[in-house]
């Protein structure tokens, strides 16, 4: 398979009989996972703590390699180096995003760093990228945070900055790991609606990992339920 530019014709993510085990652990964190996700979908991945949700997302991105089975991201085999190219068309907001109080990077700089992977040596940030930063921050109502150091922001504000970074990249596929964890109710609704609009307007695929399904379940096209490392149900595929 080849990595396809533009809106992919094939599946965005394909997991075929995937087992992933963390080093030092006897039991796989996810086992015998089969999943095919077509483009232009909002996918909700849910399940209790320790179900393997984060492992599943990191396997899709190729950050974790299958010990058995095969995983493809935008047609790229995640166990091969071609996955680095595929990742450039993806965004990710990790669960462990919090930075300590002394983190001095300004929020604007952190969002701009999201464009790094596309940059040639010595290439500076351009006007179009700064406009995209403004666009993404306006969507989430966080323009006033741009000039503040990350370490001075609250958990919810830091999470919104990373969501803005993910959107500013205009990804074909985006993975959000517990994006509502630090947000208040109003912000949860705003983020859920923003992600839905993003899928519809950009033809992108968005994966949302959340143990609390209430903010997003009404917007999801596909719901994947995980338990004990196995997919127990897929609805809407």
């Amino acid at each position: 398979m080849q990595v396809v530019r533009g809106i992919p014709k094939g599946n965005v993510v394909e997991l075929l009989g995937v087992y992933v085990r963390y080093s030092g652990s006897d039991r796989p964190a996810i086992l015998d996972v089969n999943l095919e996700v077509p483009p232009k979908r909002l996918v909700l991945i849910t399940g209790p703590n320790g179900a393997g949700k984060t492992t599943l997302v990191e396997t899709c991105l190729g950050l974790l390699k299958p010990m058995r089975g095969r995983a493809f991201l935008l047609g790229a085999d995640t166990s091969r180096r071609e996955v680095v190219q595929a990742r450039r068309m993806c965004s990710y907001v990790p669960q462990d995003f919090m930075k300590p109080p002394y983190e001095s990077y300004l929020a604007e700089h952190v969002i701009l760093l999201g464009f790094s992977a596309y940059k040639a040596p010595f290439e500076p940030v351009n006007r179009k990228e700064r406009e995209r930063v403004l666009w993404a921050t306006k969507l989430l109502g966080i323009e006033e945070l741009l000039s503040k150091p990350m370490g001075t922001l609250s958990g919810g504000q830091q999470q919104k900055v990373l969501i803005a970074r993910a959107l500013a990249r205009r990804p074909m596929v985006a993975f959000f790991d517990e994006p509502f964890a630090s947000l208040d109710r109003e912000s949860r609704t705003l983020v859920a609606e923003t992600l839905r609009k993003y899928v519809d307007s950009q033809g992108a695929t968005v994966f949302v990992v959340s143990h609390d399904i209430s903010p997003i379940v009404g917007h999801a096209d596909i719901t994947v339920k995980l338990s004990d490392g196995r997919i127990t149900r897929v609805e809407g595929c």
Binding site: G24, P94, F97, Y105, L112, G114, S116, A117
Partner: protein, 276 residues
């Protein structure tokens, strides 16, 4: 033409600046243990150079770059026991170094060639070595300028950078190669057993004195140069080994940095409690 002292001072400035800057990245890329092992591989290479009557700078460079490549490749494939692999390379390199020194024709540790490799020497700086050091410094500055955004993204969050398609593995390997060449280039000045001092102490001091990444990088380079030059001066004035003088001075700087930091924090706390 520069005299021996001018060359030694210039080499100390360059070595301190280069190692300070590399040490900052090594620390933030979390490959400190690897750089420690690479330092000892350089020592093993230099010792083999003595046995084979080769220029020990080049044999150190060959051994250090080989170990950097080997460790870099192993680390990209192995998840479990990475630190142990690194320590195995460290102990093997140390054993090879000691064996090579034992086997060398120089039976006494104070013999010039052996002493230079072990303790460091002001006389080890030649115009050729100075040019190598200058070239490596310029190349490293060019590298961090060219890939500033990639490197910043990795420094901010390594996993996020990797997920967004930055080739973290390639940048880590490049950094390890620069580390190996920098270590090999400074080895004869600081001595093989203490060459890694300039990689760790300046950045540790800088992280106490400055908060921003860019400030830490600049301060680390400045402190590295200051420690190297003053160590060189003390070594010359009191006829002491250069490596030990540089190490003790940079350790003293680290101690002072901790003191300054503690004082600043105590003052801030006192002022905050006055306001409340």
């Amino acid at each position: 033409m520069l005299n021996i002292f001018s060359m030694a001072i210039l080499a100390a400035i360059l070595a301190g600046c280069l190692c300070g800057a590399i040490g900052f990245h090594v620390n933030h890329f979390k490959v400190t243990t690897l750089s420690f092992s690479i330092s000892h591989a350089a020592l093993a290479g230099a010792s083999i150079g003595i046995v084979l009557s080769l220029d020990s700078t080049y044999s150190a460079m060959a051994a250090a770059t080989s170990s950097a490549l080997l460790l870099g490749l192993i680390f990209s494939r192995v998840e479990r026991g990475r630190e142990l692999v690194s320590m195995a390379v460290f102990s093997t390199s140390s054993a090879i170094a000691l064996l090579a020194i034992y086997m060398s024709t120089a039976r006494v540790l104070a013999t010039t060639s052996v002493a230079t490799v072990l303790w460091g020497s002001l006389l080890a700086v030649t115009p050729q070595k100075l040019i190598i050091l200058l070239t490596v410094t310029i190349l490293f500055l060019l590298y961090i300028s060219a890939f500033r955004m990639h490197i910043d993204a990795i420094l901010y969050d390594k996993k996020l950078a990797e997920a967004e398609g930055i080739d973290v593995q390639a940048h880590t390997l490049t950094l390890l190669l620069f580390t190996s060449i920098a270590i090999a280039s400074t080895l004869k000045l600081t001595g093989g057993f203490l060459v890694f001092t300039l990689l760790y102490n300046p950045v540790a001091s800088a992280s106490q004195l400055a908060r921003g990444a860019r400030h830490q990088l600049i301060l680390s380079s400045l402190l590295g140069s200051a420690s190297a030059v003053s160590g060189l001066a003390i070594s010359y004035l009191f006829n002491l080994p250069v490596g030990a003088a540089i190490t003790l001075l940079s350790s003293l700087t680290l101690l002072i940095s901790y003191g300054v930091r503690a004082t600043v924090e105590r003052t801030r706390l006192r002022e905050a409690s006055k306001i409340n």
